[in-house]
Symmetry: C2
Subunit: 212 residues, 2 copies
């Protein structure tokens, strides 16, 4: 045992896999399985058992030789590493097709919750969806101050991505998950990721087409 904070910076791929492990551990725990081996975790995630052990060993000696990993202990450890024990607030920016669709489909079972939905179009403001009132984009600053660290889910009209992004970064938001497919730029210290359904479809199309 020991460390939970590693010396070297951890790769994004490892963090992504930790998220997968956490998901599998919650599933196992729900099924009443108290212990899991690297082999079973690996199978669930379609990777090698050595990769699982390497990932986990970065943060400490969580396993018991001969038996495996204690599910609730490992789950709590991973949640601490990821910082999802007390997850940040999630705010949707854009109350159009995608924003509303996201809100309606919810974040059930993820630990996160949509806390606000904003738009800059005054005709959309005030509308109530899933118990949330669409608020003006200008209130982002107040929301960040109220909710603390916030993840913005960007889903605005095509072409307004950068302009909107600038405003929410200006308002103090430091993490953005964009459904807008335009190339976006953020200043140092702000984290930006994309959710790209069309790219995933492209990858599948390529796989289908190049496989005879």
């Amino acid at each position: 045992m020991g460390k939970t904070v590693p010396s070297r910076r951890v790769s994004e791929r490892t963090i992504r896999r930790l998220s997968h492990y956490a998901r599998c551990l919650r599933l196992s725990w729900a099924k009443g399985e108290p212990v899991l081996t690297s082999g079973r975790l690996a199978e669930a995630c379609s990777i090698s058992s050595a990769a699982v052990r390497k990932d986990l060993a970065i943060f400490g000696d969580f396993g018991k030789k001969g038996s495996g990993y204690d599910v609730p202990t490992l789950l709590r450890s991973i949640e601490t590493i990821l910082g999802v024990g007390d997850p940040p607030a999630v705010v949707i920016v854009g109350a159009g097709n995608i924003g509303l669709a996201l809100l309606r489909s919810g974040l059930e079972g993820t630990g996160y919750r949509y806390r606000e939905i904003l738009d800059s179009d005054s005709s959309k403001i005030g509308r109530i969806v899933c118990d949330l009132r669409v608020r003006p984009l200008g209130e982002m600053g107040a929301i960040v101050r109220e909710l603390g660290e916030v993840i913005a889910v960007l889903a605005v009209t095509h072409g307004q991505g950068q302009e909107t992004l600038d405003r929410i970064v200006e308002a103090g938001c430091r993490a953005v998950l964009s459904f807008n497919l335009e190339p976006l730029a953020v200043p140092e210290g702000v984290f930006l990721r994309y959710m790209e359904l069309s790219t995933e479809l492209d990858i599948l199309t390529h796989a289908l087409r190049s496989d005879r």
Copy 2:
């Protein structure tokens, strides 16, 4: 010039970047820019210019030394490589929250189109959403025969993922994009990918928390 089919298998990361390049090229073309350099493409994708050149050089000598890449030519070439010139049909499986949300938010500007939406719950069948009638899951086989190669977007009730997946694979579907977060297994020759909003949120949360 020459090859468009490389000898060695191309990595998924390269394919993903090609999808990004295609997006940027469409944007440039729409803006009337006839030529693009690796540097400008790289900037838009937040990677190095050398990476862009390496990716493109795998498939042929598309660039003109001294000037850059001809936008429409390169775009057509990438579309051929990805196989998205004539994109496969996309079928939503599951007419619950997420399935309907996906259908309503559409695939505008991606080249793809939702062609069918299926569900196994008889109470949902027959309902009309966005001009599509919810059809029984049992018709998947007929749909594959009718539409040819199909990408299924899996968005069913949590816990029914594997069972449903088995049925659509059985029906002849060879590519699946899953919004279900359960670990899923597919036979050899079937391509499976996940769309994981919660993992992206986890990665952002970790970035926020580990950055002071």
